[in-house]
Structure formats: C-alpha cells, structure tokens
C-alpha cells in the first residue's frame, strides 16, 4: 500500500533548483537597480546626502521584501513525473518571475523619474521667486 504512495516525483529537485535561482536573481536585480538610483535620490532630495541614502535603503528593503515574498509564495509545483516536465515547469515559473521582476524594476524607474521631475520643477519655482524679489 505504501508503494502506491511513494511514486518517484521530481518536486524536491524542482524546489532545490527554483529557490537559489530566484533568490540570486532578486539580489542581483536589486543591487543593480539601487546602485543606479542613488543619483536620482540625491537629485530628488536637493543634494541632502543623508536623507537620500536613507530613502534609498528604505526602498531597497521594500523591493527585497516584496519580491522575495512573492517568489516564496508561488513556489508550489504540481506533481512532476518526468525530467521533461521538470524542465518545462521550472522554465515557466522562472520566466514568469523574471517578467514580473522586470515590470517591478520599470515601475520603480518611473517612480524615480516622476519624483525627480517634481523636485526639479520646485527648484525652478524657488529660483524664479528669488529673482523676482
């Protein structure tokens, strides 16, 4: 009776391949993104170094939490019986996750661009007021 339950599945291997790939991908992407976002942050906060770095690290924490949490929540695979199915299921899941990561990165970039534009406008307004007076 136990023999019928213990059929060979590749789910464990799938989890062991999926977890490191997803975590390393998230770490690489967020390092890349937040190394480049420092210049944006300094522009947004009018050259105040400390608050710009603090905001940058807050955004970084949020990005890590959101993406790693999502990646861990969608980990469940269906019963995988053959190696062929394993490859297909893994590539489907990792591909979907990397598309999601790309969209998140673009959204972040749009947010930074919008903030930068806003603060540039404010700078211009302040400068004009000063010259008028």
């Amino acid at each position: 009776m136990t023999a019928t339950i213990l059929t060979q599945t590749y789910n464990f291997q799938a989890y062991m391949i999926y977890l490191p790939i997803v975590i390393i991908l998230t770490i690489l992407v967020s390092q890349f993104l937040f190394k480049n976002s420092k210049t944006f942050m300094i522009d947004i906060f009018h050259q105040k170094e400390d608050i710009a770095m603090a905001t940058n690290s807050l955004f970084k924490i949020g990005f890590y939490l959101l993406n790693i949490g999502f990646a861990l929540c969608i980990i469940e695979f269906f019963q995988i019986e053959t190696v062929e199915r394993l490859v297909v299921a893994l590539s489907k899941k990792i591909g979907g996750f990397s598309i999601y990561l790309g969209i998140m990165m673009l959204l972040n970039l749009l947010l930074f661009l919008k903030g930068r534009k806003h603060s540039m406008n404010k700078d211009k307004i302040i400068r004009n007021e000063n010259t008028d007076i």
Binding site: Y15, L19, F45, T55, I61, G69, L72, I75, I126
Partner: protein
C-alpha cells in the same frame, strides 16, 4: 520528526528576517525623524518605542502562525510549507513597510527641507 525540523527552520529564518529588517528600518528611519522632530533625544526615544512594538507584533504573529500547521511527512512537503509560510510573513512585513512609507509621504510637507 519533519514537523519539528520545519518549526525550527521557520522560526529561525523568519525571526532573523524580522529582526534584520527592523534594524535596517531603525537606522534609516532615524534620519527621517531627525528632519520631522528637531530634537535628537526625543526622536531616538520615539524610534526605539516604534522598533519595540514592531518586534512584538511580528514575532507574536510568527509564534501564533505555528499553530496553523498541517502534518508534514517528507522533505518535499517540508520545503513547501516552510517557504510558503516565510513568503506570507515577508509579504506582511512588506505591507507594513509600504504603509510606513505612505505615512512618510503624507508627512512630507512637514519635512524641514526647503
């Protein structure tokens, strides 16, 4: 047997994540509170109380969520259960964090940078 291993793994990883995130937010929140409240000692006290309540809420939820745990009979189910639970905890942390950021965004008019 597998249940005990999964409890230990879950408790270790999720409390490590909670404490680390709390410490990082504490460090970068200090700068913000210094701009909001122009008094260093008071701001440190507020920040420490916030950190303490954050730890209580999250570690308490982690401890409670151990009670909704199914039976685990092999390695595969262990990995699945532990990672879905940690994912849920991390997403809850993420929601709390974004609520904090939204509060800071609402309060940005009061930030003393011109």
């Amino acid at each position: 047997m597998f249940n005990i291993v999964s409890y230990i793994l879950f408790l270790g990883i999720s409390s490590y994540i909670t404490i680390d995130v709390g410490r990082r937010c504490f460090n970068s929140g200090k700068v913000y509170l210094e701009y909001l409240i122009n008094d260093k000692g008071f701001c440190l006290t507020v920040n420490r109380i916030l950190l303490g309540s954050y730890y209580l809420v999250n570690l308490g939820y982690i401890a409670i969520s151990l009670s909704f745990w199914g039976r685990i009979s092999n390695m595969e189910e262990l990995l699945l259960a532990v990672s879905t639970r940690i994912g849920t905890i991390v997403l809850i942390l993420c929601v709390l964090h974004f609520m904090n950021m939204a509060t800071l965004y609402v309060l940005r008019k009061k930030l003393t940078i011109k």
